[in-house]
């Protein structure tokens, strides 16, 4: 009257193997789920009962106890439904323990006995990949990402029982071919003018330098940012896998298939802290920083985000992972994203000297919305203006995404061949080895430091950007021109008020 069936549970972007134990014994008829289930997990009792009855399978009118083994950890979600149903069938000798020994089950049950898709199929399947995994047909593409030993996709509980008994053949699985770029990124050629900002995008993509775009409404900040994923080098298999796991765990875009195009996330500025960094429910849903991992996190109207939400980005920006700690568990999720911010220069939006209608105190108040430490983490701060009529007429459409992407890839490869990582990730002590600068360039930086325009952190950031510029120009040495351009690409966010640049 006892059965044990394998399934998996989700925590963050990782699956954990889980054993469902069922005991059917004498006593007052009833159904208890133990092992710290959350609400959706506890409700499985009603779903399982209805599913069994509609599939014309027996339901024991006895005392049923379901234990989600690992009694100390909280479990959430409905993915254990199928395992509970199968365990009940084994406990009633409808199925033999041997027939299910090699299987793990991951699906939610409908009241009609059908198998439903669950969020987080990929990481959960990977946790039980050494078994034959049974999922719903809707999850099969996602589950393939985790490449289990054998994947079975069955549409109803009744069909599953027939297959397990050997009365019916397992439905065949169509292998999904790796799709190239399912989502199409808009082309850079559609952006007319904006030569300076386009170059900044290229530098940003090459060196993984965080980019802040500042400009009046209608200057095309979002338009530019949305074209950034197109010029980023494709994800490595490892990164694509990590990204797919996170997407699956968060339950977004369960289209499945490994994507090599970098993700692009642009949360609205009302996003909460939990939506941004992850956590929240008992199974710790991945946040936007993890979803953007390997790609671009775009914060439009950055000044409108809650300051606490923005400051929460500082730790993942430094470490490339997000560490979440809660009372019961702590976990780490990937957060290796390229941060792109967009902001108006001032409340009135028209920063042009002599045209701005804001007072100095308006500027100061606006500037206070961005914490200094966060602004300091942007390697590039570029001002974008509405293209003038001249620019629209003369410049026409710019270079296409494909052209720029090729240059970015070549320059990125140069950096990776040299030091094993993009330039933005160079450590301080590596700078002199991999990004040595000429005496002239050093003198220039020294002068800027003395004038107090540049901070110590800024100094290193300028050197990394200068290295990227040299890579793009295919120069071995970082010379004064590269440093000069890097300095221009990291201009102050808001105009220097009274202090004046020559004080």
């Amino acid at each position: 009257m006892y059965a044990a069936v394998k399934t998996a549970a989700l925590l963050g972007a990782q699956g954990h193997p889980l054993v469902v134990e069922v005991h059917v014994g004498v006593g007052i008829p009833g159904f208890t789920v133990v092992g710290l289930p959350d609400e959706s997990c506890r409700e499985s009792r009603d779903r399982v009962r209805a599913a069994l009855l509609s599939s014309e399978l027996p339901w024991p009118n006895r005392r049923i106890t379901v234990n989600l083994a690992g009694a100390g950890e909280r479990k959430g979600g409905a993915a254990a439904d199928l395992a509970i149903a199968v365990a009940l069938l084994v406990a009633q000798d409808v199925l033999s323990q041997e027939s299910i020994e090699a299987h793990a089950f991951l699906a939610e049950l409908g009241l009609d006995g059908s198998l439903r898709t669950v969020a987080g199929a990929a990481p959960m399947v990977s946790a039980v990949a050494m078994h034959d995994v049974v999922v719903s047909p809707g999850n099969h593409a996602e589950a393939l990402i985790a490449s289990p030993r054998q994947l079975r996709a069955v549409d109803t509980l009744a069909h599953l029982v027939r297959c397990l008994r050997g009365d019916d053949a397992w439905p065949s699985i169509t292998q999904i071919e790796e799709q190239e770029d399912v989502c199409v990124v808009a082309d850079l050629a559609e952006v007319s003018g904006q030569a300076w900002a386009r170059n900044a995008l290229e530098v940003s993509a090459t060196g993984m330098h965080h980019l802040l775009l500042v400009g009046p409404p209608g200057a095309g900040k979002s338009m530019l940012a949305r074209r950034l994923p197109g010029i980023l080098p494709a994800l490595t298999h490892e990164d694509a896998l990590a990204s797919a796991m996170v997407f699956s765990a968060a339950g977004v875009e369960s289209a499945g298939a490994l994507r090599t195009s970098p993700p692009f996330r642009s949360p609205h500025h009302s996003a909460s802290m939990v939506a941004m960094v992850g956590g929240g429910s008992s199974y710790m849903r991945p946040g936007e920083v993890s979803l953007a991992s390997g790609g671009v996190l775009f914060l439009d109207e950055m000044g409108e985000f809650a300051p606490t939400v923005l400051d929460a980005l500082r730790q993942p920006l430094e470490e490339g992972v997000i560490r979440l700690s809660r009372a019961r568990h702590s976990l780490t999720m990937p957060a290796k994203f390229l941060l792109v911010g967009a902001s108006n220069p001032c409340p009135c939006g028209d920063i042009r000297p002599g045209m701005c209608r804001c007072t100095d105190s308006d500027h100061r108040r606006y500037q206070r919305r961005f914490s200094g430490p966060l602004i300091d983490r942007f390697d590039l701060c570029v001002h974008v203006d509405r293209p003038s009529a001249d620019a629209l007429v003369h410049a026409g459409g710019g270079e296409s995404t494909a052209l720029v992407a090729a240059r970015v890839l070549a320059a990125r490869n140069r950096a990776v061949d040299r030091q094993g990582c993009p330039n933005a990730l160079l450590l301080h002590d590596q700078l002199d080895i991999f990004a040595a600068i000429t005496t002239q360039a050093r003198a220039l930086l020294h002068a800027e430091l003395e004038k107090g325009i540049l901070t110590g952190r800024g100094y290193h950031r300028i050197r990394r950007v200068a290295r990227t510029l040299a890579d793009l120009a295919n120069d071995n040495d970082v010379d004064r021109d590269h440093v000069d351009i890097a300095l221009r690409m990291r201009s102050a966010l808001v105009r220097p008020h009274e202090a004046g640049s020559y004080r």
Partner: protein, 372 residues
């Protein structure tokens, strides 16, 4: 009771009466010596028939120790008080129809003996405008001309920063500031250092008694004194409805020469100055223009040489495009047919040698001004 406070303390007390205005104060001061008038007010005697009853009512509640308080207050901040009765009262203001009856001064009124040029303009000035004001202030001071301004943000404060710089190099031209608030109420706060510097290297003047806060109506009144003590008023940048235009009107009433610095017609900050030029003001593009208005001989070498490295090649082209109007890198690149990187490098060189500056992506050309 200790010895009576000096006469000037009574003048200060009259100035700090409730509901006091510059017209009422003038009326009181011209009715007799400050101590006499003070006595009359304390004893509810009729000082002048034109004073309204509610004003007299308010004055009757004034404390009899006000002169003593004012005496101590002025002594603490080392302020001098001069009224129309005093010999020290600036002669240039005596003939003024709307002259302040009592002046509070920190520093030395001798500064008013020099030739005096006011440099005024908007608070929301462009970088280029601020730079021009500083440069003009520096050169005038070097030539021994006193620079008058209002210590407001923007053009005003930069004019005096220029004087400060020149003075550090041994120039003799003084700084004269006319402020709207009391001499111990620094507004805006961030100018406290310059505020004290002016007091020690020229004169800091106000008609408001110590403790007066900078209410909006005091600024137009301040502007009339500013116009009254200047021989020439130079408007560097102003919008058409700016406070500088009040100073200009006050100056025109007094027959003071008004000069304006021309600017691009597309900038808000040049609309006021360009309107002045259209109305017949002489333009200022160089310190010599101001000297001509002062009637000073400009043929002598005043030795102000532009020490900046002469731009060559693309730098020169870029600078040429920047004169007169702010531009973006994209605009410059299209206009000159160069790559944005080449333009960025040129701008870097020009910025390092002090020819240009940028504000949020907009580049402006600067006049010569010797950096420290």
């Amino acid at each position: 009771m200790t010895s009576d406070p000096p006469e000037w303390a009574y003048a200060a007390a009259l100035a700090s009466l409730p509901l006091q205005t510059h017209r009422r104060l003038r009326l009181l001061i011209t009715r007799g010596s400050p101590s006499d008038v003070w006595g009359k007010i304390l004893h509810h005697k009729i000082v002048a028939p034109s004073l309204e009853p509610h004003v007299l009512q308010a004055w009757s509640t004034a404390s009899s120790c006000l002169p003593r308080q004012m005496y101590e207050r002025c002594m603490t901040i080392e302020a001098q008080v001069v009224s129309l009765h005093d010999a020290a009262y600036p002669s240039v203001l005596r003939a003024d129809p709307d002259a302040p009856a009592v002046l509070f001064v920190r520093g030395n009124l001798d500064a008013l003996e020099q030739r005096r040029v006011a440099i005024i303009g908007t608070r929301k000035a462009t970088q280029a405008g601020r730079h021009f004001a500083a440069s003009l202030g520096q050169q005038l001071s070097t030539l021994g001309v006193a620079v008058v301004s209002g210590l407001a943000r923007g053009i005003d404060v930069h004019a005096h920063r220029g004087v400060e710089r020149a003075s550090n190099d041994g120039a003799t031209g003084k700084a004269i500031a006319v402020v709207a608030s009391g001499l111990d109420v620094v507004y805006p706060r961030e100018h406290v250092q310059l505020w004290n510097w002016v007091a020690s290297h020229g004169a800091l003047i106000s008609e408001s008694p110590p403790g007066t806060s900078p209410e909006a109506f005091r600024f137009p009144l301040r502007n009339r004194i500013l116009a009254g003590i200047s021989e020439v008023v130079v408007v560097v940048e102003s919008t058409e409805a700016g406070g500088s235009m009040i100073t200009v009107r006050e100056a025109e009433k007094r027959g003071v020469t008004v000069l304006a610095v021309p600017g691009s017609p597309t900038l808000h900050t040049s609309q006021g100055t360009n309107a002045l030029l259209r109305d017949g003001c002489a333009p200022v593009t160089h310190v010599d223009d101001v000297l001509v208005a002062l009637g000073l001989d400009t043929s002598h070498q005043h030795g102000f040489v532009d020490q900046r490295e002469t731009p060559m090649g693309l730098c020169a082209d870029v600078l040429g495009q920047l004169v007169g109007e702010p531009r973006t890198i994209d605009w410059l690149a299209i206009c000159l047919g160069e790559s944005v990187f080449a333009v960025a490098v040129a701008l870097g060189r020009l910025e390092q040698s002090g020819w240009v500056t940028q504000t949020s992506g907009w580049w402006e050309a600067l006049v010569a001004y010797s950096p420290s």
